[in-house]
Amino acid sequence: MRSRDFDPGGGGAAPWVFVSPLIAFALIFFVVPLGFSVYLSFTRWNPLGTPSWVGLKQFEYLLTRDDAFWRSVGNTFVFAFGFVALGVPLSLGLAFVFSRSRGKAVWRSIYYLPQLTNIVAIAYLWQFVLDDRYGIINRALGLTGLRGPDWLTDPVMAMVSVVLVMIWYDAGKNMLVFSAALEAVDSEIYDAATLDGAGAWRTLRSVTLPMIRPAFIFVTITSFITGMGFFALILAMTGGGPRGATEVTALYTYTMAFEDLRMGRASAGALILFVIIGVLSLLQFRALRERERRT
């Protein structure tokens, strides 16, 4: 054991030892891949050969000639926006009822089930449930005399379906984040508001929502980032179909890379998507923070 003077902050080499795996990982699996990705986006590369430098050609092709790329960007927006706009209020609403109910352990287990399930199983389970003719939903609708939609074969409905399944998958997790925030609100504040003569609605708007604002910002932005980059569900559930109607950009670049072996163009596509996500998240964050400051 070394003897030395007491040092209030440092611990000699110890902190560096503790963070050494972090640093090594950050270099090998964060910095180098990002650099490599940028390099690749300036090349044409079928990985069974060697990369050839093509400058900005891949970006030019994607942005000016590739209709499928733009369609995929549009689909990405629809998916992410649908996921946030429907999913976040829904989980907030569920959190309100959940946080005031009995038997929380049971509800929590049930609502958390999808989060425990692998995405392949989720995709296939819903394929069975949503089958046009023999899925349980359309069978049930048929019994009541209604014609159920073509959930997965109609292009518009297919997008609706993947958004709904994504919400189903994530609702439980966000509900728990919101309910944690709700429970952290001091009950004395409610008492005070009630004494003050504030009605339920006013209490909600003026006390509860501002108090859970950090949770709201957190959930909205993480959901948005997740929605823009998530493609495992779509890959397994619709494969991007029918006719490309659910092909989001992340899926498009993935298949470009690992099916058509166009690594350069795929890297360029992924970088474009990343820049879009980065800019939009920043704007969103600013907007949400800004409102908070005004209040």
Binding site: L48, G142, P242, R243
Partner: protein, 417 residues
């Protein structure tokens, strides 16, 4: 609990696992798209195989993923020794240097023992790349119970006839959902369910997909338009329904499908005792000059395998008739209801049953035309399926869909030809 040595230890343990066990006596790997169940006779042969202490094992790679798996697998040093290659994947595999050319002594065996169409399917730029195995043909398959109920004693032989029969067979429930379908397309992930029947119609119209030097796509030809109009017309006029899948035919709810012979075992399972009576196979309903599509697989060897000679020996073993009987491959294909390209196996096997006979006849009459081997063929097939679906769903006219398709495919061909 955890101390600072845990992480390095765990990482070291993983790196230990990283050094692959590289044993020279590891079994040769044969990668095919058939399920374990379908490949059972072949797997039995592989398990018995032992030459100089080298055995063999089976690996299943799903049809829809086969080409991608092979290409990324090679990057990762996970290539099998022996492939079963669908002819449309061949150009790309050859271009990427994946395949080993057939050794001279085996080439003679192939040229003498296999039909010309299937040898062509295994040939790229004049070089033979493997031993043909399975060959498939598309024909019209009908559920005669449904046809008779609707008042027809025989399957149609013309396209107008098909439309009439399909319309008569189809029933819908109160919500307008198809209950019994008159005609159905297959909804496979690769798009083959739409694309392969299209080839049959296109060939019957006298058309083709590419110019002979492969530099030009011919989707803008009148024949292609006519073929697509026939397919799309079925959906547009409410005769066929894209929400019904040809794979549901065995359940008995579909009147007619244009399908390959390999679905036989599945159809048998579904129809049971009524199979012989109720299932009919007949010509592509395009009049007297009908043509159809044939496509073939061949068994090839990985160029990077360190035991190519042993691998070729195994390929030969699996495809050589045993004691005047069927080869291992022939036995497996026979049980599947699939057709073999081997003349010897055809001679040694039982005479084809009533279901299979029309498929064999189409091959022998020269009515079955091979699918062209071009670069990026599976990517192109995906584009074709998307374009056809758009036309069927009425999102684009057939002309517009084909025009777009022609441009997209020529963009791809331009890269390679």
């Amino acid at each position: 609990m955890f101390n600072q040595t845990t992480a390095p230890l765990a990482i070291a343990a993983m790196l230990g696992a990283a050094i692959p066990a590289h044993a020279d006596d590891a079994p040769l790997t044969v990668a095919m798209h058939y399920t374990q169940e379908q490949a059972a006779p072949l797997i039995a042969c592989l398990e018995d195989y032992d030459v100089d202490g080298i055995g063999a094992e089976y690996r299943q790679i799903t049809y829809g993923d086969y080409l991608q798996t092979v290409l990324t697998g090679r990057l990762a040093g996970q290539a099998p020794d022996i492939y079963n290659v669908y002819s449309i994947w061949a150009a790309q595999m050859v271009d990427n240097g994946v395949l080993d050319p057939v050794p001279d002594d085996l080439a003679g065996f192939v040229r003498d023992g296999y039909s010309t169409g299937t040898v062509d399917a295994a040939t790229i730029d004049g070089t033979l790349w493997g031993v043909p195995t399975e060959v498939s043909v598309y024909m019209l398959v009908s559920n005669m119970a449904l046809l008779r109920e609707a008042g027809f004693d025989a399957p149609p032989t013309t396209w107008d006839g098909l439309r009439e029969v399909a319309q008569a067979v189809a029933t819908r429930n109160a919500q307008g959902r198809t209950e019994t379908a008159g005609f159905a397309f297959g909804q496979s992930s690769s798009g083959a369910g739409l694309v392969h029947p299209f080839y049959a119609l296109l060939y019957s119209e006298g058309g083709k997909v590419y110019s002979d030097d492969r530099s030009e796509a011919l989707f803008d030809s009148p024949e292609a338009l006519a073929a697509l109009e026939r397919e799309a017309g079925l959906v547009r006029d409410g005769i066929a329904d894209l929400s019904v899948d040809a794979y549901d035919f065995p359940a008995g709810g579909i009147g007619m499908i244009v399908m390959a012979n390999w679905l036989e075992s599945e159809i048998r399972a579904g129809f049971g005792d009524r199979f012989d009576e109720d299932v009919a196979v007949s010509q592509i309903p395009m009049g007297d000059d009908w043509r159809t599509l044939q496509y073939a697989f061949f068994m090839g060897v990985d160029s990077g395998s360190d035991r190519k000679d042993a691998a070729w020996a195994l390929v030969e073993h699996l495809n050589t008739p045993r004691d005047g009987g069927l080869s291992c491959m022939g036995e497996m294909l026979g049980q599947l209801g699939a057709l073999t390209a081997s003349t010897a196996d055809n001679a040694a096997g039982e005479a084809p049953d009533a279901f299979t006979a029309p498929f064999v006849a189409a091959l022998e009459d020269g009515r079955a035309i091979s699918q062209p081997n071009v670069m990026q063929a599976s990517e192109i097939e995906g584009l074709m399926a998307q374009a056809f679906e758009r036309a069927m769903a009425g999102e684009a006219s057939s002309e517009a869909a084909l025009e777009d398709l022609d441009r997209e495919v020529e963009d791809i061909l331009f890269e390679f030809y």
